[in-house]
Structure formats: structure tokens, C-alpha cells
């Protein structure tokens, strides 16, 4: 069975991908279909789901929840996915260098990485907001820093492990250049690990952005962050609960999709886990 066929048989991966595609489509096309997210009309406030012209209803100010929620997906994905993507590249590079060069570079990097590593993303984001003021920028910085460090930590460990293995030792003994060894032998072995991990970090980042926006330290009005929409809507939970439940459900589905993809990829790509599973079913 090739990789693609195995992927299709992996329930978590399939469900996660389908959910992810739905969310992506909503984020891509929603704002185009539903129009501006900040058109206010107080006469149209607190409309429930299914109101003509407002499939998700409206909020207290009469703004279209469909337009706001789909735009909110864009903000959420921008912060979580694109920033984590940059963090993966940075973290992998740092981890590769520290793990391969070793010596003083590795020692100092490891000190810093180990120190920052255990800090929860939300706390770092709040500290960043405390330092430079509220908004999406501190959230982006926090997501970038924490995820870079987390990826670097794991990649370094993997590189140290792989460097001990026969094929790398053999390549070194054969006189190949460090660059060639790193890119031909080490990087391909590290990428699956970084990929699986990054999906978990995207999930945590989505939650962190939403949480910060919920308490008022993240995206500032009128930007429609999903967390902030839940916060706005919670005062009207008895009047029109959709204002809080819809944006919350969107966040939930996004995070669920990313974590399912992560679980699926882990089973699919990590050869050690796969052989462990096969061994367990064979004996």
C-alpha cells in the first residue's frame, strides 16, 4: 500500500482533512459571499440563525454573523497557520544547527530553549500584551516564539539521535560535506516529526489567539476575531445564543480538524510508531 492509500484508510486524517477543507472554504469564500463584516444596523440586532439574508443571524449591532465568523476564520488561520509555518522553518533551522554543530552553540541554545519551552503560550501572549500593548502583534510574537522554541527543541533531539545512526556515521566517514549530510540524510528524517508536531502547535495557537481576543488583549474591534465574538455574544446567551455558540463552534471545529490531522499524520508518518503498532498486532 502506498502512502496515499494508507492516508485514505486513516479515519482521523480523512475526517480532519474534510473538516479542515470546509473551514478553509468558509474562510476563503465566506467574506466574498456574505460581504462586509462591520455593516451595522441596530434595527436588525439579535437575529437568530436562518434569518433571510443572515444565515448565521446577527449580533447586538445588527452585524452579519456569517460575514464576521468567516472573516474571523481568516484572522485565526493567519495567526495560527502562517506564523506557525514560519516558526517551523526557524525552529527546524535552529534545531538542526544546535544538534549538528553541538559544542557551545548547542549548550547555549539548549539553555534558552529549555527555559522558554515550558511556558504556556497564553501566558507568554499576555506578557507580550503587557509589554507592547494589546492587539494581534503580541499574539503573533508569542505564537512565533513559543512554537519556534518547541520545534527547535524536538528537532535538536531528533538530530542528536539520528547523528548516532549508522548511515550518518558512514556518510561522515565517507568524507561527505556537512551540508550534504544534513540535507540528504538528516532533514528528510526530521521533517515528518516537525510536520506532526506543527499541527498540534497550530491547534494550541488557534486557542491562544481566540483566548487573548476573548479577554480583550488580542484582536481589537472592529476586527472580528472569533474569540472576541464569543465574548460579545455571551451577554445575550438567553436572548440569542447563536451570537456566542456559532463563533465558539467554529473555533472548536478548526482546532478539532487540526488535531485530528495531527493524530492521523503521526500514525501515518512516524515509522517508529507504525512499527510499534504493527508489532503489537503481530505477536
Amino acid at each position: 500500500m502506498n502512502l496515499f492509500q494508507r492516508a485514505l484508510k486513516n479515519k482521523q486524517l480523512v475526517v480532519g482533512s474534510v473538516l479542515g477543507l470546509v473551514v478553509l472554504a468558509l474562510g476563503a469564500f465566506g467574506p466574498l459571499i456574505f460581504g462586509a463584516y462591520d455593516t451595522q444596523d441596530l434595527l436588525l440586532g439579535h437575529k437568530p440563525v436562518g434569518t433571510p439574508g443572515f444565515p448565521f443571524g446577527t449580533d447586538a449591532l445588527g452585524r452579519d454573523l456569517a460575514a464576521r465568523a468567516t472573516y474571523g476564520i481568516r484572522i485565526s488561520l493567519f495567526v495560527a497557520v502562517s506564523v506557525t509555518a514560519i516558526a517551523v522553518v526557524l525552529g527546524t533551522t535552529i534545531g538542526l544547527i544546535a544538534g549538528y554543530v553541538k559544542g557551545a552553540v548547542d549548550t547555549v541554545t539548549s539553555w534558552i530553549v529549555d527555559f522558554v519551552w515550558g511556558f504556556p503560550l497564553i501566558l507568554v501572549a499576555v506578557l507580550a500584551a503587557a509589554s507592547i500593548g494589546s492587539g494581534l502583534v503580541p499574539v503573533i510574537l508569542a505564537v512565533g516564539l513559543v512554537n519556534t522554541v518547541a520545534i527547535a527543541r524536538v528537532v535538536r533531539g531528533e538530530v542528536l539521535g539520528i547523528s548516532e545512526r549508522e548511515f550518518v556515521v558512514a556518510a561522515k566517514a565517507g568524507g561527505y560535506s556537512s551540508v550534504r549530510i544534513v540535507f540528504r540524510h538528516i532533514v528528510p528524517n526530521v521533517i515528518p516529526v516537525a510536520l506532526v508536531l506543527s499541527s498540534y502547535y497550530v491547534a494550541v495557537s488557534i486557542i491562544a489567539e481566540a483566548s487573548l481576543s476573548f479577554v480583550g488583549l488580542g484582536a481589537q474591534p472592529p476586527l472580528p476575531s472569533l474569540g472576541q465574538m464569543v465574548s460579545d455574544g455571551r451577554n445575550f446567551i438567553r436572548l440569542n445564543h447563536w451570537e456566542a455558540t456559532i463563533p465558539g463552534a467554529v473555533i472548536f471545529v478548526m482546532v478539532l480538524s487540526v488535531s485530528l490531522i495531527g493524530d492521523g499524520l503521526r500514525d501515518l508518518l512516524d515509522p517508529r510508531l507504525r512499527t510499534a503498532v504493527e508489532r503489537a498486532s503481530a505477536t
Binding site: W111, I112, D114, F115, W117, G118, F119, P120, L121, I122, L123, V126, L127, A129, A130, S131, I132, G133, S134, A203, I207, A210, S211, F214, V215, G216, L217, G227, V230, S231, R234, I237, R238, H241, A244, T245, G248, I251, F252, V255, L256, S259, L260, D263, A276, R279, A280, T283
Partner: protein
């Protein structure tokens, strides 16, 4: 043991540096402070005077040393919002946060471990599927949204628990559950997979071949191999719970460190922000240190 000592010293050094960094960052954003605290009509002299009053015009290192000196003497300054003494506030907030955080930690392990074991013992049954799916959902649900849903159900609709505030046990239940939710889900998953992995180990067959009872093999040997790594990482849980507490305390109006810090940032009450962020940095660092030392002590191979 020298590795542990080295680790402790290194952590203290990095703690010092990072507290300086947090301190400096908050002080350097002081320009915002005058805008936030003084009326728009304030003149440049008024602003300068205000900065001088709160010591913002000194070199940053002097301010830091000054501040540490005051902290040691128990003088934490006053809140800019209501002029309350921070040292008095701190005692109350820390106590409340310890109650909430302690309850959450108890729930994380008290619910997470038994559920994870149950899922492992009943592997591939409907029970396992339900527990495992709930755990996946539990990790994906944002806790502020979960908070909203449980308040809607248990307070607004059923009226079992108060929706917010602090007081007796009744006030603790909902925030503690919401704060623990993600940790419970994670612990369930870790416990389940560790149990299943260890059940397949060769040593299990050896012990069964020696005639040990199944319950002894599972509840003593497999369990210890599975749980020690999980429990020894409890320090890391402390850090995560502090992160979530910032949000959960704010939602439930729980008068703890998280709530006062978030409100402090929102109101630019920087003496408050200063002290409580330093406090959390220290606590998280110590938690991580405890996790790393605990993990070492839990493993006989690393202990020697």
C-alpha cells in the same frame, strides 16, 4: 546528583535574566502608561512629573535593582487603579489561585488517570471509543467557550451553581472543571497510550510466566511504568494551568492572580502587571524545574 544541581543553578540564572527582560519590557512601554492614566488634557510637564513619581525616568537596571530591593522588603507598591497595597492584594489573590489551581490539578490526575486506565483495559470497546473521543474533543474545545456552555447549562438553566464570583465550594466547581478540562483530556490520552504500550512489553510476559496475578502485573508493574513519567511531569501541568487560569479566572470572575493580571494589562495598571507577571514567571519556571527533576528521579536509570 550534580546534574540536578547544575540544572537548578542554571534555571536561577535564566530566571534572573528573564525577570529583567519582563521588567524592562513593561517599563519601556511606560509611554502608554501616561496616556492611559492621565487625562488627555495633561501637559508634557504633568506627564514627566508622573513618570518621575513612579520612577520611570531612571536607567532600567537601577529601576530593576530598586524594585527587587523593595520586593525583598515586602513593599510591592500600590495599584494605580484604586491605590490598594499590592502586598495585601497579593496574599488574597495567590490564596484564591492556589485553591482553584490545586482543585484543577486534583481533577486532572484524579479523573484523567482512572479514565485513561479504563479506556486501556477496555480497549476497542464502545467505552474506550467514547472516552477517547471525548478526550479528543476535550483537547479541541476552547475553555472560554466551554465555560460559557457550562454556565449556560448549570447556572442559567439548571441553577445548580453560581455563574461567577468566589465564595464557598459551590463557586469552585465550574471554574475548576473548566480549568482542568484540557489537562484531563491530555492525561486520559497519555495514560491510555502508555498503558497499552507497556502491556506489550516483554517484561509483562516474564511476570505472567512467573505466575504473578493479572491484577498485580497490571496495577503494580504496568501502572508504575506508565504513570511515573506522567506524574513526574506534573510540574509542566502547573505551567499550562496557569496559562489557562488567566482566561478562566477572568470569565468566572474568580479573584485570583490570573484575573488581576489580565485586568491590570487591560487597564495599564503597571505596578500590578509588574508584580504578578514576575510572580507567574517564577512559578512557571519552578514548575518546569520540578518537572525536569521529577522526571529524573522517577526513572531509576537517570537517578543514579
Amino acid at each position: 546528583m550534580s546534574t540536578v544541581v547544575k540544572r537548578v543553578l542554571l534555571t536561577l540564572l535564566l530566571l534572573q535574566l528573564s525577570s529583567l527582560a519582563v521588567f524592562a519590557a513593561i517599563r519601556l512601554s511606560g509611554g502608554d502608561v501616561t496616556a492611559a492614566r492621565l487625562p488627555a488634557s495633561a501637559t508634557a510637564e504633568d506627564r514627566e512629573l508622573f513618570r518621575e513619581q513612579i520612577g520611570l525616568n531612571q536607567p532600567i537596571l537601577t529601576q530593576y535593582v530598586d524594585y527587587l530591593g523593595k520586593v525583598v522588603r515586602g513593599d510591592l507598591g500600590n495599584s494605580l487603579t484604586n491605590n490598594a497595597k499590592i502586598s495585601t492584594l497579593a496574599v488574597e489573590k495567590i490564596r484564591n489561585s492556589l485553591i482553584l489551581g490545586g482543585a484543577a490539578i486534583v481533577l486532572v490526575f484524579g479523573i484523567g488517570i482512572p479514565l485513561g486506565m479504563l479506556a486501556a483495559f477496555r480497549r476497542n470497546t464502545w467505552l474506550d471509543t467514547s472516552i477517547s473521543s471525548a478526550a479528543v474533543a476535550g483537547m479541541a474545545i476552547p475553555n472560554f467557550w466551554l465555560a460559557l456552555l457550562v454556565v449556560w447549562l448549570f447556572s442559567s438553566t439548571l441553577g445548580w451553581f453560581p455563574p461567577a464570583g468566589a465564595g464557598g465550594f459551590k463557586y469552585l466547581v465550574l471554574p475548576a472543571l473548566v480549568l482542568a478540562a484540557e489537562g484531563i483530556a491530555l492525561t486520559v490520552r497519555m495514560t491510555r497510550s502508555a498503558m497499552l504500550e507497556n502491556v506489550g512489553q516483554d517484561f509483562v510476559r516474564t511476570l505472567r510466566a512467573a505466575g504473578l496475578s493479572e491484577s498485580r502485573v497490571y496495577f503494580k508493574h504496568v501502572l508504575r511504568n506508565s504513570l511515573l513519567p506522567i506524574i513526574s511531569l506534573a510540574g509542566l501541568r502547573v505551567g499550562q494551568i496557569i496559562g489557562y487560569a488567566l482566561v478562566v479566572e477572568t470569565i468566572f470572575g474568580w479573584p485570583g492572580v490570573g484575573q488581576i493580571l489580565v485586568n491590570g494589562v487591560l487597564r495599564r495598571d503597571y505596578p500590578i502587571v509588574q508584580f504578578f507577571s514576575l510572580l507567574l514567571v517564577i512559578v512557571v519556571t519552578l514548575g518546569n524545574l520540578a518537572a525536569s527533576v521529577g522526571y529524573t528521579l522517577a526513572n531509576p536509570r537517570l537517578r543514579k
